[in-house]
């Protein structure tokens, strides 16, 4: 091709070849390219919407605390931002509703306690109690309860240790809350446990990691206590004692004990 012809060809092609020469900056985009870009924009928008939908699904799953089981050791999903008060109240109410439904469904099982850590409630035979009302539960349900002095505050206020089979409540008389401990059933008369999240003493460490966290109780790390691996969850309450939840897990991944309440209280 002669030089003259080559220059003519380039002159003709310049407007339609993006990236070649100065003409690209000043020449309007051809129709074919604009359609393609529009399609890409729509695709991006679709992906964005799908992503938003996925996020909403994840939040919904977290709110309903019905996470799909994953193998033990799977990294915990990062906590979502603290919901506002109304959202938290709605979540707590929905959790309580589930606890009620769960308890009613198992009302005939006289050896089963349903626990709602979000609302600090324990259900027995379909009846709701605060976890700090264990003595009242025992009295109402005709369960054997023992009461011994654990220790005292400097002002003499006693901290009582209430024992109902494998359930123990430590509570200062001068305070509203206390610490509830439930040990895995070992003797006849001990109670089985079911939580709103679906946890029981048959659950594994992986089940706990996957389902114990929710908008109210945030994961607070792992530690060692009484020779057991401890998974900690908590709800901050500012200057007052917050709610804490601990799962004491054996080396083979079984739940040995659950502690709930004002765990920072001594």
């Amino acid at each position: 091709m002669k030089m003259k012809n080559w220059l003519m060809l380039m002159t003709l092609l310049t407007p339609v070849l993006p990236g070649i020469g100065k003409a690209q900056e000043t020449t309007p985009t051809p129709v074919v390219t604009a359609v393609s870009l529009e399609q890409e924009k729509l695709d991006v928008e679709r992906l964005r919407l799908e992503n938003e939908k996925l996020k909403l699904e994840i939040e919904k799953m977290q709110l309903s605390a019905t996470a799909v089981a994953t193998p033990a050791g799977t990294p915990t999903v990062a906590p979502s931002p603290t919901p506002n008060k109304d959202a938290l109240a709605d979540f707590k109410q929905s959790f309580s509703d589930k606890a009620m439904a769960l308890s009613k469904a198992h009302a005939a099982e006289a050896d089963l306690m349903v626990l709602d850590f979000v609302n600090s409630e324990i259900w027995f035979k379909g009846v709701r109690y605060s976890v700090y009302e264990l003595p009242a539960l025992a009295e109402d349900q005709k369960l054997k309860v023992s009461k011994t002095l654990d220790e005292r505050l400097p002002n003499g206020s006693p901290r009582w240790r209430y024992q109902v089979a494998n359930l123990t409540l430590l509570k200062y008389e001068a305070r509203d809350k206390g610490i509830l401990e439930i040990t895995a059933p070992q003797a006849p008369g001990d109670f089985r446990l079911l939580t709103v999240e679906g946890l029981s003493f048959d659950s594994t460490e992986g089940d706990v990691r996957d389902s114990a966290q929710n908008p109210y109780l945030k994961y607070d790390g792992q530690g060692e206590s009484q020779g057991f691996k401890t998974l900690r969850y908590g709800h901050d309450a500012g200057l007052a004692f917050g709610d804490g939840l601990q799962f004491l897990v054996t080396r083979d991944g079984k739940i040995h004990k659950i502690r709930f309440g004002t765990l920072d209280e001594r």
């Binding site: 220790e151 005292r152 400097p154 002002n155 003499g156 006693p158 007052a240 920072d264 209280e265 001594r266």
Partner: protein
């Protein structure tokens, strides 16, 4: 809560501090006695109770009106090492003459009443330096050690050892106390008993020929708490005390006494145990004898004290307390020199009523208890000046004593 915190901080900044220490700030603010309402101060009579007040750090601030010098504060900690081993405790710098809130209710004579159930000089010596002898036994408590353990039977047992010494050579104090919780015994609920013996050695002006001879204090006592109903209990207590004080080669400088305190209190829980209302009555008797040449005396005193106390939480973090004590009867009998009369019983009541108040601040496992000078509160009420102590100078109230404790 934030508003409350700011109010708290503002209040603390505005509080003045003048001091005269008695017992724990809580008891002071309620004008009562540990035996009547229960308090960590009970470990000084019943060392077995360290098992109940375990895992506590206990700082006593503001003693002797010299707050801020960081020299006379005292305190310690009770730690459960292991349930099988029990509870260990150590306190340092406990004052020798820290009185209870009721100490100055009467114009007592030359004997020293036993109201100071947990603090007091060995031998209860009446201060012979005041009578021309030119000396007094002066010592400081250095360390108090405790050990207590819960027993399989349900009771508990405890031991308390004290060591003190003085500036002069050869002055030292040793004390040993034992206490036991027996549970329910006959008509008495949750019965505790104790026995104590303290002895002091000293030399007079570093003269080995003139030194202490039989300076001791011995005490025995019992305390029971019986439940009257779900919200009421009855506390009964009695303590006997015997004292001796003598010096070799100074035959006239001797003193001895004996006495008893018997009391009862009815307590009612407020709001399921968050607060407390208490009313009590105690009868105190002491008989002291000294054949000192310059000021021999043989005196007997007895009185009846009535008190009522209130402890009420007004918020999660704030507890308000108040109490009133009245010396209903106070009598003194001088059998010896007639220093106080002609050998008949005299009315010994002085400024015989005391109103006390104070507050406690709870922040998680920390507790700051204070007693407030009643006069300063009354002045603030009488002369209301909104903003005083916050926006301009002046105290809202004056704090007399303060304790800081932590449960761990």
């Amino acid at each position: 809560m934030k508003k409350g915190l700011w109010m708290l901080l503002a209040g603390l900044m505005a509080l003045g501090t003048s001091v005269s220490a008695f017992a724990s700030a809580r008891l002071d603010s309620m004008a009562t006695d540990a035996r009547q309402v229960g308090d960590i101060d009970l470990i000084w009579l019943y060392p077995n109770m360290v098992t109940e007040y375990k895992n506590t750090v206990d700082f006593r601030l503001y003693p002797y009106g010299d707050q801020g010098d960081s020299e006379n504060e005292w305190g310690g900690a009770l730690v459960e090492v292991d349930p099988d081993f029990g509870v260990l405790g150590a306190y340092v710098n406990r004052p020798v003459d820290e009185d209870s809130v009721n100490f100055n209710l009467t114009d007592h004579g030359r004997v020293r009443p036993f109201f100071r159930y947990n603090q007091g000089q060995v031998g209860n010596e009446p201060g012979f330096d005041k009578f021309g002898a030119g000396f007094a036994s002066v010592y400081s408590n250095q360390v108090d050690l405790f050990w207590g353990k819960n027993l399989a039977s349900g009771g508990n047992f405890g031991v308390h050892f004290n060591y003190g010494n003085g500036a002069s050579a050869g002055t030292n104090v040793f004390a040993l106390s034992v206490g036991a919780g027996l549970g329910n015994v006959g008509p008495f609920g949750d019965l505790n008993v104790h026995a104590d013996y303290e002895m002091e050695n000293f030399e007079v002006a570093n003269d080995p020929n003139e030194k202490s001879n039989g300076v001791y204090t011995a005490k025995v006592g019992a305390l029971s708490t019986s439940s009257l109903s779900a919200n009421n209990d009855l506390r009964l207590y009695a303590d006997l005390q015997f004292d001796g004080f003598g010096v070799n080669n100074i035959p006239n400088v001797t003193y001895s006494d004996y006495g008893a305190v018997v009391g009862a209190a009815i307590n009612q829980k407020i709001d399921g145990g968050k607060g407390l209302f208490s009313t009590g009555l105690s009868v105190n008797y002491i008989d002291g004898t000294s054949p000192h040449a310059d000021a021999d005396f043989e005196e007997a005193e007895w009185d009846v004290l009535w008190n009522t106390s209130l402890e009420a939480p007004v918020a999660d973090w704030l507890t308000v307390r108040a109490g009133l004590t009245k010396d209903i009867i106070a009598r003194l009998y001088d059998r010896g020199s007639g220093f106080y009369g002609d050998g008949s019983w005299l009315n010994n009541a002085g400024n015989n009523v005391r109103f006390s108040t104070g507050f406690g601040i709870n922040w998680q496992n920390f507790t700051l208890n204070t007693s407030v000078e009643a006069e300063s509160l009354e002045n603030s009420i009488t002369d209301v000046q909104p903003g005083r102590g916050i926006f301009y100078t002046g105290d809202i109230v004056t704090v007399e004593t303060a304790d800081l404790s932590y449960k761990f």
